[in-house]
């Protein structure tokens, strides 16, 4: 197992956010994390990254306990994340945004940049443009590219398709499939359950901070409650 959460619980003060969440991601997989607003998707991701500390439970990455580590140490272990809402550095150019992605990976950047420009050829024309002036779709591409610059073992995408036009979402998910095919393990958090399940091998459904259902793509698609609540 690349990433494993063993009954992890997290709370913000007295409010319990995650209740004994068990979750695992194997090398090479695409795993999706589904749930409505406030179900605990983002909290799960923040807990993995060490931005929120878990009260109990164990978080293993690559066989190491990362539950007590600081965020930047976790990132340097080989997890990278395209955060919710993209959070680009608006006043920096696209290229500098990408270079920030190298903070955890001090390797030569040329090859990594080439790979990113192959995935998103549009960005190549935007290299010296301030990231804040890009369109929503392009910003989403920069967010993922920035995460890829670190050559992550595990790539976490937090609602990557948020605010994108349906046509763009389609193209975007094709790119996610391509990234996975090139050998990156992906943990995908989404509200758009139909789309997310399409590209995933397995999935977890969160509700009120607990794992409510889990299984392979097929199993979840056939699960009555999942279909009723998330697939419509």
């Amino acid at each position: 197992m690349l990433l494993q959460l063993n009954s992890v619980s997290t709370s913000y003060g007295k409010i319990k956010m995650l209740d004994k969440v068990c979750l695992s991601v194997d090398t090479g997989e695409v795993v999706c994390l589904l749930g409505s607003n406030g179900a605990g998707k983002s909290t799960t991701i923040k807990t993995i990254l060490g931005m929120v500390k878990s009260n109990n439970g164990q978080i293993l990455f690559d066989g190491q306990d990362i539950g007590k580590m600081k965020t930047y140490e976790v990132i340097r272990k080989g997890i990278s994340v395209a955060p919710e809402g993209r959070r680009l550095f608006p006043r920096m150019t696209v290229e500098q945004n990408l270079e920030i992605g190298l903070a955890a990976n001090q390797e030569d950047s040329a090859e990594l940049k080439d790979r990113v420009y192959q995935l998103f050829p549009v960005l190549k024309d935007r290299v010296n443009q301030a990231a804040g002036t890009l369109s929503g779709g392009e910003q989403a591409m920069v967010a993922i590219s920035r995460a890829l610059m670190q050559k992550p073992k595990l790539l976490i995408l937090d609602e990557p398709s948020f605010g994108l036009a349906p046509l763009l979402v389609e193209a975007f998910y094709n790119t996610i499939i391509e990234i996975s095919r090139q050998g990156t393990t992906i943990l995908l958090s989404e509200q758009n359950a139909g789309k997310a399940l399409e590209v995933s091998d397995r999935g977890y459904v969160l509700q009120k901070g607990a794992i409510y259902a889990s299984g392979t793509k097929q199993e979840l698609m056939e699960n009555d409650l999942v279909r009723k609540c998330y697939l419509g």
Partner: protein, 383 residues
């Protein structure tokens, strides 16, 4: 990315500004000074309205190399123009010393977005450490200066620690508290001279020559401040190079990143703790150097020169000039030292005029006189 603008516009523009500054510094009648300020402001407004200002700035930006050389020559000539007026050279030297401090402060306020009001305290630490080592132990300036810088750097680290958990307004409040704590400590310790300060700080000596002594060459007498002025200019040049390199380095990129978005920076593996402490330490080292230069220049150091007021003034200089733009920071510092000095008769209204200038700037040009340019330096090819 290179545009081919001719350097002519920038050259004319810089020369006009330089001439205006020289005339302004040479005049010592209060009302003529006031008139010049009004005329200067009118000139700038006309330049902006006619588009000459933008053209000139564009030309300067496109010919950075030539313009840097020009600015260097202008600066080197400036003290020579005032051979008979040591007072002007004195003010100019002070302004250059403060420039070193604001270059450091710009790391925190401009690059990393942490508005630090305690830079005056770091300035004081550098000055006091250097002065005490000199007065009590007789160490030469070339040992007390690095000692002052190191002490200020360490203080910066220590003061950086309590600010780590805070952000924006809260961080500023913590730095204000730090400024007051250090001020009161120095004021109340016996060994710092308390409110009496430290008198008789010696001048630096190079190759047996005491800097700040009058030199007579035949019929020409070079005033003592002149030599000190050139020494400070040398330090300012070093500080500028250091600041420029820091800004263009990985440090600078990380500081800009945490300024723009802390959460995002963490997501990409930056250690906020490390970056913020580095910003504090590097910035304070600059302030420490400025403090030491100041103490040995004036020959006397007291708590007045490390008060919260100084910290506030330094922040004003950075904001006025243009955050995260080195040239802007220098311009802001020179303006806020030289103009009030010229208006000494209005001493009582000095702080008032700072307030007024800041308010006007924040309304009409919140990005400062020279706004920061988007970063263009790339780290590509880093091995």
């Amino acid at each position: 990315m290179k545009k081919n603008t001719s350097p002519a516009a920038g050259f004319i523009f810089s020369s006009i500004i330089y001439a205006a500054v020289v005339i302004f510094m040479a005049v010592d009648d209060l009302y003529i000074s006031l008139g010049l300020i009004v005329a200067f402001a009118a000139g700038i407004i006309t330049a902006v309205k006619t588009g000459f200002w933008q053209r000139a700035l564009g030309s300067i930006n496109d010919n950075t190399g030539k313009m840097t050389v020009l600015a260097g020559i202008f600066t080197l000539i400036l003290p020579l123009l005032f051979l008979n007026n040591p007072y002007v050279i004195h003010i100019f030297t002070l302004a250059c010393i403060y420039c070193i401090a604001t270059l450091g402060l710009n790391i925190q306020v401009g690059s990393a977005g942490m508005v630090n009001f305690a830079q005056g305290a770091f300035f004081g630490v550098g000055a006091y450490v250097s002065a005490l080592l000199d007065v009590h132990f007789g160490f030469p300036f070339w040992i007390t200066l690095p000692a002052g810088m190191a002490a200020a750097g360490i203080m910066g680290l220590l003061m950086g620690l309590p600010t780590l958990k805070t952000r924006e307004y809260h961080l500023s409040l913590v730095t204000i508290a730090c400024a007051y704590i250090s001020f009161l400590l120095v004021m109340n310790f016996k060994w710092t001279g308390g409110p009496d300060g430290i008198p008789d700080i010696s001048k630096p000596v190079i190759f047996g020559m005491e800097i700040g002594q009058k030199i007579t060459l035949g019929s020409i007498t070079i005033p003592g401040v002149m030599t000190y002025c050139y020494m400070v200019l040398a330090f300012l040049a070093l500080a500028l190079i250091a600041a420029r390199r820091l800004q263009n380095s990985w440090y600078g990129l990380a500081w800009n990143a945490i300024r723009d978005d802390e959460i995002s920076s963490r997501c990409y593996g930056l250690s906020l703790t490390r970056s913020k402490l580095e910003a504090f330490a590097f910035g304070s080292i600059f302030a420490g150097a400025a403090g030491a230069l100041y103490a040995h220049f004036i020959g006397f150091m007291s708590t007045e020169n490390m008060s919260f007021q100084i910290g506030l003034l330094l922040v004003c200089m950075v904001i006025l000039g243009g955050m995260d733009n080195l040239a802007g920071v220098l311009v802001g510092t020179l303006l806020l030292i030289i103009i009030p000095e010229k208006l000494r008769a209005f001493e009582d209204y000095r702080m008032l005029s700072y307030g007024l200038v800041l308010i006007l700037m924040l309304i009409f040009r919140p990005e400062g006189i020279l706004p920061s340019k988007p970063r263009m330096f790339n780290l590509t090819g880093r091995g």
